[in-house]
């Protein structure tokens, strides 16, 4: 009996010690695959291996060339440490998952009593194992597994958001660099105009007042240039942060011109449906409903009797033989019947359900808004490119003829040129709006939804029907 009982107990204990090792990179390959599928970008988790060396080499060689938006995204993926830090969430979630699968350790109770009168001591031995763990561990594991899934979704989403952010920062910077160039040309034009004014003044042909009026124009244009330079510097630093670049890595240069508007308009069939189908956020919210459901099940199951300790105790009193018998500890649910925990879990579930619904509504309108922003920016940019800029150019060219015929002077000619460049500024702004909206659309396509005004919100999963016949 004693032997048999002890053997049985031993086997039980052995059975309860599961495979308890922790694999920290669990889930990362899945994330890598998801990111690659959704945004055509390779990610690497930097943990001091040979792979890291390879990534560093790649970053270096990318920084050598004039960067495109895609290059910038790839560099950031490989080189940004914030992103690397985010990957640690996976390790943490994995650790939680392993933890959840572990039984509570059995408790060995041993006491020895030496009688003052007798010769032989009394021995008391008891091994107590939490009996209900056997029932609850699978439940706990299910919760933790769901949480692990949630963590994977969260990390994937963060990576995709990050790529969109890099893309947006890149276009903002590219536009800013073009602005600097345009503002510099305006300064050049107005400075030339001022130079001629000074000569007229020196010849006695215009008054001090006229000269000061001309000068104020030229000087004001320099302030605009300074602002533009500062904007470009700021957006460059924003990009440096995202690229994870410092030191000599900050010497990168980018393509001087934003890509032109593609010849064919982008056709997205049923953008709302696509956005919902692809949305990672929606999966994430669904996952939260599952987790909350599991949590509720667990709470219900463990409400009345959260802990039952089952054990065996053995006793040998002095001079007598061993006495062996089972022992059990059960809390009596007189005061806490778990009703609060159940109610809490149920509320969590209801909240997750409402959030899921609200997110769906938001994704739909964001998708529609982004589509409209693309169409509008496209129309505006094309209008500037095909109508207004050629008209401005014609004004300058026709003005030159009128200047030749001495109908207008050099000042009018330079003013027309300035107006032409200002129209160029407006064009660059429209082009920038277009590519920012396109970055938002790409974010939607990758399964994340940007804010309606082009910030960050979330994602999704599914197939995107994009008619991308784009001539560059």
């Amino acid at each position: 009996m004693a032997v048999r009982g002890t053997v049985w107990m031993g086997l039980l204990l052995l059975g309860l010690t599961g495979c308890a090792s922790v694999n920290l990179s669990a889930g990362f390959p899945e994330i890598g695959a998801a990111v690659e599928e959704r945004s055509a970008t390779r990610i690497v988790w930097n943990r001091g291996s040979a792979v890291d060396q390879e990534a560093t080499e790649q970053v270096r060689s990318l920084l050598e060339r004039r960067l495109t938006a895609d290059d910038a995204v790839q560099i950031a993926m490989l080189n940004n440490r914030e992103l690397q830090a985010i990957y640690s969430d996976l390790g943490l979630a994995q650790a939680d998952l392993v933890q959840s699968g572990l039984f509570k350790n059995p408790v060995l109770d041993a006491a020895i009593l030496f009688p003052l009168s007798g010769v032989r001591p009394d021995l008391q031995l008891s091994v107590v194992v939490n009996l209900l763990d056997a029932l609850y561990v699978p439940l706990r594991k299910r919760v933790a597994a769901a949480q692990f899934e949630e963590a994977k979704l969260r990390v994937t989403g963060a990576v995709l958001d990050f790529t969109a952010e890099v893309r947006r920062a890149f276009y903002v910077h590219q536009a800013n660099e073009q602005m600097v160039e345009l503002r510099r040309t305006i300064v050049q034009a107005l400075t030339a105009s001022l130079d001629v004014s000074r000569r007229l003044h020196a010849a006695g042909n215009i008054s001090d007042l006229d000269l000061v009026r001309d000068r104020v124009q030229a000087e004001a244009s320099k302030v605009m240039l300074r602002s533009a330079e500062s904007d470009a510097q700021q957006s460059r630093e924003q990009l440096n942060t995202l690229l994870g670049a410092w030191g000599e890595d900050t010497a990168w240069e980018i393509d001087g011109r934003m890509p032109d508007i593609p010849a064919e308009p982008l056709l997205v069939n049923g953008v709302e449906h696509v956005a919902l189908a692809r949305s990672l956020d929606l999966s994430h919210a669904r996952q939260r409903i599952i987790v909350a459901g599991q949590q509720l099940g667990y709470s219900r199951a463990s409400a009345l009797i959260p802990d039952v300790d089952l054990g065996a105790s053995a006793e040998r009193e002095g001079g007598e033989g061993w006495k062996v018998g089972p022992a059990i500890t059960i809390p009596l649910p007189l005061f806490d019947q778990g009703q609060a925990r159940i109610a809490r879990a149920a509320t969590e579930l209801r909240r997750a359900q409402q959030e899921y619904y609200a997110l769906g509504v938001r994704i739909r309108s964001t998708a529609r808004a982004v589509q409209e922003r693309i169409a509008s920016a496209r129309d505006r940019a094309l209008y500037y490119r095909d109508i207004l800029l050629p008209l401005r150019e014609r004004i300058v060219n026709e003005g030159q003829l009128h200047y030749n015929a001495m109908q207008i002077g050099i000042f009018q000619l330079l003013r027309d040129r300035e107006q032409q460049i200002e129209t160029g500024v407006a064009y660059v702004e429209a082009l920038r709006d277009y590519w920012l909206a396109r970055a938002d659309l790409a974010q939607i396509a990758s399964g994340r939804v940007p804010a309606p005004n082009g910030g960050r919100v979330g994602g999704r999963g599914g197939q995107m029907k994009v008619n991308e016949r784009e001539g560059h």
């Binding site: 007229l200 020196a202 010849a203 015929a405 109908q407 000042f411």
Partner: protein
Amino acid sequence: MANRLSRRQILGIGAGSVAAGAAWTEAGHSKSHNQPPGGRAKETGGRAYWQESYSGGPPNVAPLAPGLPGDHYKPVVVPNGAALPFKIVGGVKVFHLVAEEVDHAFDSGLRANCWGYNGRVNSTVIEAVEGERIRIYVTNRLPVATSVHWHGIYLPNGMDGVGGLTQPYVKVGETVKYEWTLRQYGSFMFHSHHDEMTQMGMGMIGMFIVHPRNPSPDYRVDRDFSLMISEWAVKAGTARPNTVEMTDFNVLTINGKVFPSTAPLVCKTGDRVRLRLGNLGAMDHHPMHIHGYHFRITATDGQDIPLSAQWPETTVLVAVGQTRNVEFVADAPGDWAFHCHMTHHVMNQMGHEFPNMVGVNPQGIDEKIRPLLPAYMTHGHTGMDMGKMAEVMPYPPNTISMKGATGPFGDYISMGGLFTIVKVRDDLASYEGDPGWYQQPSGTVALKANDDDLARDGIDVNDGAASPAPRSGGTGPPAPNRGHRH
């Protein structure tokens, strides 16, 4: 008094008879050349005298036979224009005046959509003879109603042509008949008298020349030119006169042309010359100036001026709405400029928004501006004379700004607008066409002085006082002009 009675009797005689013609001549011609006008001078209260009639007397006079060119008058010369043809129907001279849109060329490089008469702008002349009855049909092919006023002419009130006042409008597509007997002679005009600002600004003006019946020998000239002056606003690159413009007129024409398209006034040495000048421009009077001669101002659109009152002048002011006859004997051969002396009136399509560049140092401007405007070239710093460049530089379409013509010495005649040339020649095969440039006899042209002359006359060209040093470009205002230093 007796004079007036006899005149009335004469005018009562039936039309067309020789006797009447003669009588007319006597009466009519009593007012002509170098005679005091009809009516006796009465010294009363400081006033010289009142004429008997200021309107040619009673309107219903019996007309004389129509006058014919060659027989009764020597036709005027209309440079760049023509006299309106006529026919005689039942003793009446009949004209057909057509008001219509005309695609008009001010010059080879400048055309505009104008309005005019019988396919011409400013240069259709109606020519008639004192005493004849004329009938003028006016057909309106314009897109708007019009009317024709016979400027300076005595006629029945209902023939005066003031739209809305003396007659209904000549509506679009309508033909209206004007008819009266001419009871005067002189240089007159005709023009639209409905929405004048628009219609005259678009070109609805012309000269109306009436020759005297049986003129005295004094009236006869060898060259009798009819010149109508007008002004237009045709902005560079446009092709329609802007009739709303009130000050900025940039195209100034003689018979609808600007120099170098103004046909020269060709004369033989010794010719008696009459210039009949009319001005129906919108806002500007023109002091027309002749070189090499003086002329006498012999007539206005009212009357001949008695010899004792004629002004010897080199410049005659022709105000808006006036005609002036000037006469001279062309006894000095040469190419003599005849032009308005308002300097802005001898420019073609001057732009008035060009900054004052005169005296500006151009050095280095082009290099600064060409990166922004590759076709830029500084000009204006030596003035407005672009010379031949004005004809080769790319201009807006339909623009002749700064245009003049290359002269006999290869240099550019930097004038346009109200500028023409009286070409007087000893030998002249024909008055038709252009005899070319005048060849001055050797030694009679202002040329670069040679060293011998300078030495002989003690001219030191390097004498500092002769050429004050140019002001170097400072920053302050220019020094006040202290007068000439020569």
